[in-house]
Symmetry: C2
Subunit: 504 residues, 2 copies
């Protein structure tokens, strides 16, 4: 079957000269990838870094065309897509730096010694690549979390060949970005099969089940992510499956902060929840706002800002339809009040929605719908009358990717709320919005279940590379048979732990 590209604004479709992959295709592609594991993973770190940089160059070289293609398929504004492409190129170069830094190898050397357990032999440990990695592109970031995104970059950086499953919402963009990455790989003489791309729903299932695949990553809905995670676990040889499944990210405004600058925060909220038409996994979805004057002003400002907005074109008609279904489902929960009254639209068109509920109703057993993520420009204001009500409601919320706290200087409520936040989320923000996810050494993009399938990992930032590695210890292995990272002379010049002491 041929792959179709749809313009969400017009609904126009065009058939691409690309076929969906059959099971046999997926098998062939993944076996090809496996056949180059040895060659690819053994290339010098410096070479690997160069290839990532070449890929970044090729993306930037083709920026104008890539952005135009993506704009047509996603309805995202040009400026946003240009920025996202810059970020994606930056991300590839950042992982090149992570590779040459070398700390990701976790090299550790214990020379032979005596111990209370008796003599201990020479033992050296480092991380090695897992093998072929399957990457599922996401819908909402056609560059940064799709074919050329962080999962691909971090897996290639780790020394793993990658097979990407393209997201159906932007197939032409997927093919074009893949072509750019491939040009970069070819410029560096990477082995054929280092990076591949497949299309089609069934191909995704086949990919998770392919014997040659050693690990997988996914960014998307809880339902699809859990289904694939279950398949990964049900394999004869289960594989790690890193699902980043989104969340109804809570944002808390303390009583003092609402009084001090409720209007300012309310305006910011409206902006953050509608950024990218709310199609961010870090979109704040739950606003915990105090009752009383400060909170009222905050909510009024948010409502007024949302009322002023035009409608949105979502990434696809399917995503818009899911959004409408979720919106209706929230609006029918008893005790929920709609604060804006825009038409829900049709096809890919829709509008921002804001609802309000009191904290006690929010935490009630029957109100589970309110605590789930709604993908799109919708948020729920939860009004609390006391800190106790607030904390109870927060403890009822599902763990999330982020937790944002708006507080004043020396706010008496801040320490306990930050504590709740760090227990329930992977990233905690004070006086800021969660919707920007920078690529850096300290980023954490992943939180407790259900926001991610593995809370120990991140899909953005330097540590994302750790998902694609496993440690191996080498005991009494002669120096000339050791991997370079563990040889006595440290030929790679990387940070290592030697006899328990970190050496930079």
């Amino acid at each position: 079957m041929s792959v179709t590209s749809t313009n969400p604004v017009s609904g126009a479709q065009r058939v691409l000269d690309i076929a969906e992959a059959t099971d046999a295709d997926v098998l062939a592609v993944t076996e090809l990838a496996r056949s180059v594991v040895a060659d690819y993973s053994r290339r010098p770190l410096e070479w690997r870094a160069e290839m990532l940089r070449a890929m970044a160059d090729e993306l930037e070289g083709d920026a104008e065309s890539l952005v135009a293609t993506a704009a047509e398929e996603t309805a995202l504004p040009l400026a946003r897509l240009q920025g996202e492409l810059r970020r994606t190129a930056f991300q590839l170069r950042f992982f090149a730096d992570v590779v040459t830094d070398g700390a990701f190898l976790g090299a550790s050397i214990d020379h032979a010694t005596d111990s209370p357990m008796g003599p201990l032999p020479d033992l050296r440990r480092m991380r090695v690549p897992l093998g072929v990695v399957a990457v599922f592109g996401s819908s909402n970031f056609p560059f940064a979390f799709s074919v050329p995104g962080g999962d691909t970059a971090s897996a290639l950086a780790a020394g793993c060949p990658v097979v990407v499953k393209a997201h159906p919402a932007h197939p032409a963009t997927s093919a074009a970005t893949f072509a750019a990455l491939e040009r970069g790989a070819r410029r560096c003489d990477a082995p054929e099969g280092t990076l591949s791309l497949v299309f089609g729903f069934d191909a995704g299932v086949a990919l998770v089940e392919a014997p040659a695949v050693s690990a997988a990553s996914f960014t998307g809905s809880v339902r699809a992510g859990r289904a694939l995670w279950e398949r990964a676990n049900a394999r004869t040889v289960p594989i790690p499956f890193y699902g980043e499944l989104g969340a109804a990210n809570p944002l808390v405004v303390t009583r003092a902060a609402a009084l001090e600058r409720g209007v300012e925060i309310g305006g910011g909220l409206a902006g953050s929840m509608t950024l990218g038409a709310g199609q961010f996994c870090t979109k704040p979805g739950l606003f915990f706002v105090p009752t009383g004057a400060g909170g009222d002003a905050l909510v009024a400002t948010a409502v007024s800002a949302l009322d002023d907005l035009d409608g949105f074109t979502m990434l696809s008609a399917g995503i818009a339809e899911n959004y409408r279904v979720a919106t209706r489902s929230i609006s029918t929960v008893e005790g929920v009040r709609a604060l804006v009254h825009s038409a829900l639209g049709h096809a890919a068109q829709t509008s921002a929605q804001l609802f309000e509920v009191d904290a006690v109703t929010f935490g009630a057993p029957g109100a589970g719908t309110l605590r789930e993520e709604c993908f799109g420009p919708l948020a729920l204001v939860v009004r609390y009358a006391s800190e106790e009500e607030l904390v109870t409601a927060l403890e009822t919320s599902e763990p999330a990717l982020t937790f944002s706290l708006f507080a004043t200087v020396n706010d008496p409520d801040a320490p306990s709320l930050l504590d709740v936040g760090s227990r329930h989320a992977g990233r905690v923000i004070v006086n800021g919005f969660p919707t920007g996810v920078g690529v850096s050494w300290s980023m954490q993009h992943g939180g407790p279940w259900p926001s991610t399938t593995s809370s120990a990992t991140t899909s953005v930032g330097a540590a994302a590379i750790e998902r694609w590695l496993r440690p191996v210890a080498y005991q009494t292995v002669p120096d000339d048979l050791l991997p370079d990272a563990l040889r006595e002379s440290n030929p790679l010049d990387i940070p290592r732990r030697v006899d328990g002491q970190l050496q930079v």
Copy 2:
């Protein structure tokens, strides 16, 4: 139901004054543990280290009695148990050092900066404890991998309260070691509920399913481990389950090494496979030996050494019975020859067994039984006629915890065999036996599926602590609200990455 302690030598049983935990008991114990998460995890690192050291002291202070109790329940020799207790105390002190070293926190600070993605806010990342950890004691190391073992030590070191499920093969030892650890905890005023112990098969199941439990570890059989792993995944909120499930660890002798010192290696093999009656998860179970004179001499020496051995008392009659069943099952595979002819014994008594098969038969589809772990003093010699036959047979073997290679200096076969080994195991040994697992910074005890459920982790050595932590990033959080590990002045004096640079 009361817990019974059995002496495997005599078969004598005594009823202990301990009741198996009901589901309600497990719920209560785990909820108590959860109630102290905040208190326990926030104690200073130095305090946590002191508590681990106090536990080590208490174990050593009670050594004579603990060893006597364990000897009665396990039939393991006194010298072995004394050594194991020393190792267990050393392990607790080692994790105290890991705690004060502080690198396990993975602290990283990115100050606010500009980037090609635009301005990036101040962002700081560290690892935080997961919560309550469930630990399943194993049968074969009543100290080092049981109540006071590495899983308990590493989880307490990470800042997680622990609930241990005692192994039924040594309940009195479990109770006595628990009492010693509890004395240590009490001496340091640890919160009540920091460490608990439950008994009973059903209690183990209830433990993995208890809502208050955030992670679990297990050392034991593939069957039991997989069943618990599946339950951990089937929870409403799945939890990480770290199963160390054993393996038929391959040991390869190159043609050159067999010619050079076949007799010496053959004697060593017999010793390694029967250490602790073969009840080690690192027991070498598959000996890949060349055909021809060198290999023949090696095998003859091993057979003669095994023939000279007395029988063994296994840890329990049940383990001995499983061993007999596995032995019979191996002996009936077509093409398999028995090399020693000792009686298989009855109750907990049995004897060492060595079988031989050619490499082609070993790799055949119908011979899967030969590639599985047999827990006990049994090994299978796989004779290969060429390096090609050897590599094919090795690729057919299941991934394992260890891979041992006996080679000569400048052995032409060594590099390719080490490569196979590092792909198929978590620890690779040259010219040594795999049965010693030292506690150190570089140890890796864990390999690809099915030897462990997560190849990215280890259950022995410093990195074992990583299983009980997850990262949290703090964005624009004022210094006085940050955890100590991330404050600008580095009050804990720990290694950190600052703006991308490692600082020791």
